[in-house]
């Protein structure tokens, strides 16, 4: 936009020349400054053209009413302070400082600490693996490795996929990894007893949904989209435009035809009532039927004609089908809301009718609800009863054996069973551990005696000293092994020995508990 000379002058606050610009004439008149101030809502250029003799309309050309600017906590000055804070999300004791508004409590919890959410990492026992997680494509070791990586990299699958290198395993794509991980999680959630309600379980399971095929197809599709040549893109665009044009033409044609028919047949044609939108074009005969049937109300007539003319039923059919398909869902919905209330009032419970009809012959006779409580007769029964009685629950009697409560008892018994199963597994593994420790000790004793000549190398003892300090029973045995192994090939053995000592610490930490209890 070109500025006039007057504008330049006014910007530079220069005195007016002898021949003032058009915009400056009026405001210069002394007594009129009050009146001639530019009303709001009129641009300066316009005002300078129409002058103060602006029509009343100008007053209405008020500034467009915009929302008032929100007042964000007053314009007062805010004081900021450099404060050190404690982040509860940190596991290390690193202290950082940040700028905060003056007056904030330095002891207050760090607002962002709550976002440091650790993803739940799923672990499974051997028993669970055997029961639910077997997969012929995957070994347990590789699954363990996958879960370890996923945990280590916080479920960042691109990193996991990048780092994934299982020795001796087949090559795995990112989708393979995801598929395995999510399927295992799904199975675990599904098969473990769930503390919350059913819907939250379903929600969690659906969050682990992964469709490998679809993901692969999606990626392929994206890749192919990327690899299109410019010619192909142009062709696609052209085709798309062509399609749109065809659709438009068709719509126009339809509209014109309708209008034509209306003019031909008059108002009674009944056309506006019938949605012609998605009907195939009908011939004159069919239309004739359409117009007559509502008047005569004779269904037999239509039927008869239907035999003669193939087009008649099709012309009448879709429209009536349309009406039904539109009307039914609305009706059904209203019914379900009402019937739920009705069912509650009359104590009715509906199950899927199709399921029950399948075994038509077996009619469940009338029963007392409480008689359907789980019978705990199988071998684990007494143990379940014991656990339940410890929890103050009677396994056989309920105060209010309603349907929901009986279902809850079922869930409770199921959970208890899995608890007992887990305990059994722990017992078994504990026993195996004992056997293994004994075997190891025996093997070490014989081995230790055989290699006694080599034992006592000072460097070996140094390495294993810490292990021995923690360990009482097993530690000695390990140190014997490692000291024996230092004899030859120092470099290689060094690393092996270190792993040995670590493992012995591990076992001492976990293994000492049951032993102590046994004593």
């Amino acid at each position: 936009m070109a500025a006039s000379a007057a504008d330049v002058r006014s910007i530079l606050s220069l005195p007016n020349p002898s021949t003032p610009g058009p915009s400056q004439t009026k405001p210069k008149v002394p007594g009129t400054t009050e009146r001639s101030r530019k009303p709001e809502g009129i641009s300066r250029e316009l005002y300078s053209l129409i002058g103060p003799s602006a029509p009343t309309l100008a007053a209405q050309l008020a500034k467009p009413r915009l929302k008032q600017k929100p007042n964000l906590g007053g314009g007062g000055r805010v004081k900021w302070e450099w404060q050190s804070f404690k982040n509860n999300g940190r596991t290390d004791s690193l202290h950082l400082s940040h700028w905060t508004k003056a007056g904030t409590d330095p002891e207050a919890e760090y607002t962002f600490a709550k976002y440091n959410v650790q993803p739940t990492s799923y672990v499974y026992s051997q028993d669970e693996y055997n029961r639910f997680l077997e997969d012929k494509e995957w070994t347990k070791e590789e699954t363990d490795y996958l879960f370890e990586l996923v945990r280590e990299y916080d479920q960042r699958f691109y990193v996991v996929g990048d780092r994934y290198d299982f020795p001796g395993g087949p090559p795995r794509s990112l989708e393979d990894l995801k598929d395995r991980y999510y399927s295992v999680c799904r199975k675990l959630v599904r098969n473990r007893p769930w503390a919350g309600d059913e819907s939250s379980k379903m929600q969690l399971i659906s969050s682990f949904q992964f469709d490998k095929e679809r993901e692969v197809t999606r990626k392929k599709y994206v890749a192919s989209l990327e690899q299109r040549t410019p010619q192909q893109i142009a062709e696609e665009d052209a085709l798309y435009i062509e399609l749109k044009r065809l659709e438009q033409t068709e719509r126009r044609f339809k509209k014109e035809r309708d209008e034509l028919l209306k003019t031909l047949l008059g108002v009674e044609s009944g056309l506006p009532d019938i949605s012609v939108e998605d009907e195939p074009p009908v011939n004159g005969n069919g239309l004739h039927i359409d117009t007559t049937t509502p008047v005569t109300g004779n269904t037999r007539k239509t039927k008869k004609r239907g035999v003669n003319d193939v087009d008649t039923p099709t012309s009448a059919g879709p429209s009536s089908a349309n009406v039904i398909s539109l009307g039914q869902p609305v009706q059904k919905k209203a019914q379900s809301a009402k019937s739920a209330q009705y069912d509650a009032q009359h104590c009715i419970h509906r199950t899927d009718a199709n399921q029950t009809t399948s075994n038509k012959a077996a009619h469940t006779p009338v029963y007392f609800r409480s008689y359907k409580l789980p019978m705990l007769k199988n071998p684990t029964g007494p143990r379940i009863i014991q656990v339940l009685s410890e929890l103050g629950i009677s396994h056989s009697r309920l105060v209010m054996p309603t349907r929901e409560n009986c279902a809850r008892v079922d869930g409770l018994v199921e959970a208890t069973m899995s608890l007992i199963d887990t305990k059994k597994c722990v017992d078994k593994v504990e026993q195996d551990i004992q056997v293994a420790t004994m075997r190891l000790e025996m093997a070490n004793n014989t081995g230790g005696e055989g290699g006694e000549g080599g034992a006592g190398t000072p460097s070996a003892m140094d390495v294993d000293e810490d292990a021995e300090g923690v360990e009482d029973d097993d530690g000695r045995a390990h140190s014997v092994i490692s000291s024996r192994s230092t004899k030859s090939m120092r470099g290689r053995k060094q690393s092996q020995r270190r792993s040995m000592s670590i493992s012995s610490v591990d076992t001492s930490a976990t293994g000492s508990m049951p032993k102590r209890r046994k004593r």
Binding site: V123, T357, L388, N444, S503
Partner: protein, 257 residues
């Protein structure tokens, strides 16, 4: 009529009932009049609808159940004269005097339209006041004098009679008589039940009444127990996984040796 004998598939309908007894200690005067002087209690065993009628002094019985129950047979101890008592109309109850507790067999026969067989349950006739056996020992029943002071003894079991795929005609009869819903909140004492020993205190002081609150309370108890079991399971599972790792290490070591 033919379509009336069609079963409504995929539908089950239940009616909440209670069965049990109320017992009071006989006063010395009453005992004198009684033909069997050794009898100490008067009791009433009954099958009733679960909800209590407003301002009634009995447990339950708001609805007349004879619209679907044809007969209730109470089988008393053989020492009673004609021990099998058939009750064919509302109220379905038997009142007697006696001195001892025993198992009452209760047989409920339904109206013909139901096309269902009779069902049987048992009720332990309770005469002596409830006592808490928290330490697992059965305490001495209080003497008659103290028992008399403690007021009537109530022993009631809630249950639901469930009809699966009922005949249309029977369903029509049932839906014509919707049961009185249980009151939402507690105004009267809670009926004591051995499955919930904690309710003893709340059961004192008058005629008890079944409420929806009791159902919720029990649901909560079950839910808490389930959560406890699951946390315990998780703990043991973690332990198991740890142990398995340990075992694996040991086995590897054995392999190395």
């Amino acid at each position: 009529m033919a379509e009336q004998r069609v079963r409504v598939r995929g539908l089950s309908i239940h009616r909440p009932i209670i069965y049990g007894n109320t017992a009071t200690v006989l006063t010395p005067e009453e005992r004198k009049i009684n033909p069997s002087p050794d009898h100490t209690h008067r009791w009433t065993v009954a099958v009733r609808s679960a909800a209590s009628a407003p301002d009634s002094d009995i447990v339950g019985g708001a609805d007349d159940l004879s619209y679907f129950i044809k007969r209730v047979t109470f089988k008393l101890h053989e020492t009673y004269p004609n021990p099998t008592r058939n009750i064919e109309k509302h109220p379905f109850e038997v009142s007697e005097t006696g001195w001892g507790e025993f198992e009452v067999q209760i047989r409920i026969t339904f109206i013909q339209e139901s096309g269902e067989k009779a069902i049987t349950t048992y009720h332990h006739l309770k005469l002596h006041p409830w006592t808490v056996t928290s330490d697992g020992q059965i305490p001495e029943a209080p003497s008659l004098e103290t028992a008399a002071k403690m007021g009537p003894v109530h022993s009631w079991q809630y249950d639901e009679i469930v009809f699966h795929d009922p005949y249309q005609s029977f369903l029509n009869i049932l839906t014509a008589h919707p049961p009185t819903p249980l009151p939402k909140i507690r105004k009267k004492p809670v009926p004591f039940h051995t499955a919930n020993p904690g309710s003893l205190e709340a059961s004192k002081g008058g005629v008890p009444e079944f409420t929806q609150e009791m159902e919720k309370e029990e649901a909560e108890r079950l839910e808490i127990a389930r959560k406890a079991v699951i946390t315990e399971t998780d703990k043991w599972r973690a332990k198991l996984i740890e142990k398995e790792k340990e075992l694996e290490l040991l086995q590897r070591q054995i392999g190395d040796v």
